[in-house]
């Protein structure tokens, strides 16, 4: 207790000097510098292009995304079972997941990726833009999924009760399209219900309370089974026969069936593109700028007249609707849900996607989501160990690269600023360029 030593803000200079010593640290530093230069050069090139060329490049990329399910062989050909015999475009077939024995169908994996990209973009609004750590995002996902299940499926107790009450036929249920506004209302209301009492709390309390919320939704879905509460969700038995865009699941469905995932992927991809456009607009709007201000310094934002609570509530409600949309799509695609699909591990996975990808940057979080879905599918051995790897990745990224793999530039600057506060500004100029 007596030796006055290190780790007080004033005295950390020696450590920094050590980092400059000519060791391997220097090599890393140089490599990092080179990477940074390369990145900057590419960005400059891109920004120097005429606008029409950029638009064409983006459109070409989107077309490529729609083409993805056929990657590795030409459209119309039979899905290749024997990779050597059928493949026409060699380098790409390595990307597919269904070539080895026991791999998941490629289009299904693509759908899952797109679905989780939607989740990541929604959660990014909450975590990345507004800086609120929501650990119970799965709750909104579940509310979205259950809204289509409870109101749209003939298997749901609520629909059955309505049939009985109003003397409707056995296969009456609320249409899929009508469930969409119901889901939007329910998820945004649940966002406000969770946010209203909790958003006044400090950030770290918020994390725990949201975690509790996610768990409450799951427990409620499990317990509202007719025995320990009114029957709303069928409890652990789950709800089946959840409709899709073409109505309840049946073999007659031409496009959105259970077997072919390609149309579902295209639907999800379309939604992702719409979401990206929407959130981009939002980011640069008054609301988006308020979120950034709150994230960086809530007190300063309040002084400048930004109503913190109001905008945080907006972030929660919007994030909830986006998460609910993904849940809605999830339930429609698989036509069956039960409470155990919405466990907290999945919720932590959502946070991992955002954090590992780079919170605040939509490209970053999308790539985070794709990696966390795709890698375990492509390398099946990974699947079992993935929680361990996620844990390791989360810790390492937070320590070495807290801004994430592909960070938002602004966010990286904030973190660099905080680190600089400790160093007493000695390397101000150098720090300011980190990850710029």
């Amino acid at each position: 207790m007596t030796t006055p030593e290190t780790s007080t803000p004033v005295e950390s200079a020696p450590r920094h000097a050590a980092a400059e010593a000519p060791a391997e640290g220097n090599v890393l530093r140089r490599l990092n510098q080179q990477r940074r230069n390369a990145q900057a050069a590419i960005r400059q090139r891109w920004e120097a292009l005429p606008k029409w060329q950029r638009v064409i490049a983006v459109l070409a990329f989107i077309v490529f995304l729609y083409y993805l399910p056929w990657l590795g062989y030409l459209p119309g050909g039979a899905p290749p079972r024997n990779p050597v015999a059928n493949l026409q475009i060699p380098p790409f077939h390595l990307i597919r997941t269904d070539l080895g024995s026991g791999g998941s169908p490629w289009a299904a994996v693509l759908f899952t990726c797109a679905l989780y990209v939607m989740v990541a973009i929604g959660l990014n609004v909450v975590i990345g833009l507004a800086g609120l750590l929501d650990l119970g995002y799965i709750g909104f996902f579940a509310v979205g999924a259950y809204s289509v299940a409870i109101f749209g499926s003939v298997d749901s107790p609520v629909v059955q009760a309505l049939q009985e009450r109003f003397g409707l036929s056995q296969d009456w249920a609320i249409g899929w399209a009508l469930c969409i506004p119901i889901a939007i209302v329910l998820t945004s209301v649940s966002g406000v219900i969770l946010g209203w009492p909790t958003l006044r709390l400090r950030g770290d309390y918020l994390a725990i309370v949201t975690l509790g919320f996610g768990e409450i939704i799951r427990i409620a879905a499990r317990n509202l089974n007719g025995q320990s509460g009114p029957n709303v969700t069928n409890g652990p038995r789950g709800i089946s026969a959840i409709p899709g865009p073409e109505g309840p699941p049946s073999p007659d469905n031409q496009i959105f069936g259970l077997t072919d995932a390609k149309p579902w992927y295209w639907l999800a991809l379309t939604l992702v593109i719409l979401m990206v456009l929407g959130v981009r607009r939002l980011e640069h709007s008054r609301v988006g700028r308020s979120w950034l201000a709150i994230r960086e310094d809530e007190d300063a934002a309040a002084v400048m007249g930004v109503h913190g609570f109001k905008f945080k509530l907006w972030a929660f409600a919007i994030g909830a609707v986006l998460g609910g949309t993904s849940g809605f799509l999830f339930a429609s695609r698989y036509a069956y849900i039960d409470p155990n699909q919405f466990d907290l591990q999945l919720s932590i996975l959502f946070v991992a996607m955002v954090v590992i990808g780079g919170s605040g940057n939509m490209v970053g979080v999308s790539i985070g989501a794709i990696l966390l879905v795709y890698l375990p599918e492509r390398f099946r051995d990974l699947d079992e160990w993935r929680m361990l790897y996620f844990g390791l990745a989360m810790v390492l990224i937070m320590i070495l690269r807290p801004q994430g793999l592909i960070p938002s530039r602004r966010r990286a600057r904030e973190l660099a600023d905080r680190a600089e506060e400790v160093r007493g500004g000695r390397h101000r100029a150098e720090e300011a360029t980190i990850n710029a």
Partner: protein
């Protein structure tokens, strides 16, 4: 509802002994929060490691169910030491390997929290998957099964009624758990309030810069609180095995959440608040389980947490470790 009113004494006694364990775990959250303003999310896994350390010890010593008292008491004490060492060690390891680099960078609280979640995942997977795969054949009783398989820990003490007041039966397990928890807590309270080291902890909690100027080694204080919190979690682990008699790699999550709720309820950063919060939460949960079907009790815990935070954001006894006893 009627069952609750008819047997309110019994439910209260059960709740207190349940809450005493929450309180011990809550101390770990409170200590770290009081000094660092950081929720050590990985603390729940520190508790889990404690229960595994006890199970390993019992297995190595070949402890049977309900041994004679002459054997049971030394075994329990040994279990306490081993669990304290294991939990304290893990807590210290987490601090040094994960939190220290972040503190050096002055990272925002969000980053700490995410790191802690990562650490939790790692520890759960190491005990649920890695160790069973690697050394499962050495200790099949402990690591023979993977993932969330529930492992039974031999009971050291039999549940015998000791005291009967009306319909309320106070049994040996109630007494052991509550007495042991209270003794540990009084010990910690004395340590923080009466010793030189404790003064250092309080000083850093009050004002880190001034404490540093006064010659308190902040780094050592931080290590100390992690170890102390870990030891308390180890004690809680021992009492858990005495009371419940099983463990699993995923056990930490729910208990950690409850203990954190308890800490917040009493006022996080306040040692006596942790005791109050833990016992209150235990009682509320048992009551809730009696009124509704017991599957709703977890929901109750969270709703109470939210209500308390809404009306008294600093908990029942207020927040500060530094000002708990100036």
């Amino acid at each position: 509802m009627n069952t609750l009113i008819d047997h309110i004494g019994q439910y209260t006694v059960d709740g207190v002994s349940k809450g005493a364990i929450y309180a011990l775990v809550a101390l770990g959250y409170t200590l770290v929060y009081g000094v660092l303003r950081l929720i050590n999310f990985a603390h729940s896994e520190v508790f889990m490691v404690g229960t595994f350390a006890i199970l390993v010890t019992y297995t190595l010593l070949d402890v049977q169910q309900y041994p004679a008292l002459v054997v049971a008491i030394p075994t329990a004490l040994l279990g306490l030491v081993v669990a304290g060492l294991a939990s304290g060690g893990i807590a210290l390891l987490v601090e040094r390997s994960a939190y220290l680099p972040l503190r050096r960078k002055n990272a925002p609280p969000l980053i700490f929290l995410i790191t802690a979640i990562g650490i939790s995942l790692i520890l759960v997977e190491v005990f649920g998957l890695l160790l069973p795969r690697r050394i499962g054949h050495l200790l099949p009783e402990v690591f023979g099964r993977e993932r969330a398989a529930s492992l039974s820990v031999p009971y050291l003490f039999e549940r015998k009624p000791v005291l009967t007041i009306g319909d309320t039966v106070i049994d040996s397990i109630h007494i052991i758990v509550v007495v042991a928890a209270v003794v540990m807590m009084i010990g910690l309270d004395l340590f923080i309030n009466r010793t030189r080291y404790g003064r250092g902890v309080r000083a850093v909690a009050q004002n880190p810069q001034t404490a540093a100027l006064m010659g308190v080694n902040q780094d050592r204080v931080i290590m100390l609180i992690f170890v102390l919190g870990g030891v308390m979690a180890g004690a809680a682990a021992l009492l858990w095995t005495i009371r419940i008699g099983n463990t699993q790699s995923a056990i930490g999550f729910v208990i950690g959440l409850k203990a954190f709720t308890a800490a917040v309820l009493g006022g996080i950063g306040n040692l006596r608040g942790a005791l109050l919060g833990g016992i209150l939460l235990g009682i509320v949960e048992v009551y809730a389980a009696a009124i509704t079907a017991s599957i709703w009790e977890d929901v109750f815990a969270f709703i109470i947490l939210v209500i308390v935070l809404m009306f008294r954001p600093t908990g029942l006894l207020g927040e500060s470790l530094g000002r708990a006893r100036a």
